[in-house]
Symmetry: C2
């Protein structure tokens, strides 16, 4: 109201996910009152990140240079390739599991209504990668949504066409979950996908 | 992990209030994936705001120039001066009430343990203002906390010393509140500050 610059800052902060008018105002006041250095640093980091972070030429994950640290690491197993929808999914798998293979990041999922087809997901790059013959297993870790399942289906077809074994991460009742409160779809899937108990 | 620039961006985003590691990561990925223009604009706005937003020479509120829009507006009543702790409090009063007087923003409250005394709150400036003789009523709108009350007490003393009438905004049961669920302190205060019902 009294300061157009302050109003524009509050407006701009709303581009952050989960930040509404009230939070944006609180953030702007906090930075101005107590952390101008932090605000300046954030401005510089944002500027640099938006300008210089691109995509890895091999796996399409975010990276600053030509190829990302995982793709250029000599210690990863290049016979396994895990396909995920987003860099955040890649990070989650990297943090939670002991997976030592490589990744391919779709940066989305098949969604014809939004104009996202195989080309937008870089599947031509994936096909070229599988054609090289190094990959033995394609681990499909797209989300268990309708679009994620459609994407998984297409990925499995592509894998089989190149004599690569496709696999899908397991879906079912989460650890610590209670059957009583699990949604029907998940429970039905978990029931149908039961595996034999061995000693 | 793979991109130092991405990690620094996530780190910097945590300077925002209420933003932890997970939200910061979500924000960084969101900007990189979907809103690089928004990110660039935010960087520019932050840079400009941190560098150019200062304090109004008269009321100490945030402002870009020498004096803020409210202080320079000719249409406000300069016989009333409302003292608040922060610019956010000033904005809240401006949005909720029809107050047409002027403001004085302490940018804090008395807190000797944190080294915040009368000098840090700009009380010398307030004293000079009251000495000018224009102000008839000093409306004290500090928060009803221990430190806010101590500040209010000092402000009232200063006002009386300059023959200015001090007033305090009312504290009590909020509109729509239920007596059963109000904290004891508020209820006791509301009971003690009861006013006569007139037709």
């Amino acid at each position: 109201m009294s300061a157009p610059l302050l109003d524009s800052l509050i407006d701009s902060l709303r581009c952050l996910p989960g930040v509404g008018a009230k939070s944006a105002q609180r953030m702007a006041y906090h930075l101005l009152e107590r952390d101008r250095d932090g605000g300046r640093l954030l401005a510089r980091q944002l500027e640099a990140a938006m300008a210089r972070i691109g995509h890895c030429a091999q796996c399409r994950d975010f990276c600053e240079g030509e190829r990302c640290a995982i793709c250029t690491s000599g210690s990863r197993d290049d016979s396994q390739l895990c396909v995920v929808e987003t860099p955040a999914d890649r990070l989650a798998i990297e943090q939670a599991t002991g997976y030592r293979g490589l990744y391919f990041v779709l940066q989305g999922r098949l969604s014809p209504l939004d104009g996202i087809g195989p080309r937008e997901l870089g599947l031509d790059k994936l096909v070229a990668r599988l054609a090289e013959g190094q990959v033995r297993e394609l681990i499909i870790a797209t989300n268990p949504t309708v679009e994620g399942e459609a994407t998984a289906h297409l990925l499995a077809q592509i894998a089989r066409a190149h004599a690569v074994r496709p696999s899908r991460i397991a879906h079912g009742v989460p650890l610590g979950g209670e059957l009583e409160y699990i949604d029907r779809g998940t429970l039905s899937h978990a029931f149908g996908s039961r595996s034999e108990v061995t000693d």
